[in-house]
Symmetry: C2
Subunit: 138 residues, 2 copies
DNA sequence: TCGCTATTGTTATAGAATAACATTTATTGT
DNA sequence: ACAATAAATGTTATTCTATAACAATAGCGA
């Protein structure tokens, strides 16, 4: 299996590419240690190798961090513009995550914060619930 | 110093009271281990004692968890009603956290999620920025 | 090529959270 | 009051998450 990155992505280094591919091909979010385990056959041996690649990918906006899960997902938007405010819907049954977009939301949160004199730079929004597929199964 | 809980709170056990008081009197969010260190003189010796108390306090809605900081804060609202959707504004300079309220927000997020067939149960919203005080200082 | 910067590799350690088990304290029903 | 049950506690060990510190290497521009 050769590594094939997202066409929209800039050049990634070996480790960055491995980690990005692992996340891209995963069905749901992965923890750093889950990534590590999946890449042991590819020369990745230590947590730091994964965390460093993740740091870079996060910085590039190719990957997002799910705070409430201590996990990571590849960005689902081809060119993720509004990097600072995103909404993740986390299914509590199947663990899948989808990334939602709402233009108004960021402005709204900013204005809500400003009422308190708080100037907002970024927002983490994570929803928990049940996704379409899992709802229809139950 | 005797322990004095929030008047609105139900009866808490010894450890729950200690942890709650620690959070209430703190200036900002505390990690479980910071709480532990602060309570060593009061008989708390192991992480589990703190985590168990926190679990109960979270369940009672007296305490909130800040996912992006792995920390905890005492609820700032006397009787925190909408337990499922709250907004925290985290100052990146002084680390203080304030709890914001917006009635519309929950409904709005629910409807945003529903567009994707996702039925939302709870939401974690954490804003990062600079608070009023810190902005005026700079 | 020299010098700079980013990336890598590795070991050790810090920080956050839970498992498992024994004991003790409260609560409840009769 | 008293047994039965549930909740909370104490303790040790372990797992999971993340970073510190240091040495080596690869890429790139002047």
């Amino acid at each position: 299996m050769t590594t094939q990155h997202n066409p929209a992505s800039p050049e990634l280094t070996k480790n960055q590419g491995l980690v990005y591919d692992a996340l891209s091909s995963a069905k749901g979010p992965l923890s750093a240690y889950a990534i590590l385990d999946g890449l042991r056959d590819h020369g990745i041996r230590a947590p730091l190798q994964v965390y460093r690649a993740l740091d870079k990918l996060l910085e590039l906006g190719l990957v997002h961090r799910l705070e409430s899960l201590n996990s990571f997902v590849a960005c689902q938007h081809p060119e993720c513009e509004s990097r600072d405010t995103m909404v993740f819907a986390i299914c509590m049954k199947c663990e899948k995550v989808s990334e939602l977009a709402d233009d108004r939301l960021e402005a709204q949160l900013k204005s809500l914060a400003l009422k308190d004199g708080f100037s907002m730079n970024a927002a983490t929004i994570e929803l928990r619930g049940v996704c379409k597929e899992c709802a229809s199964v139950s």
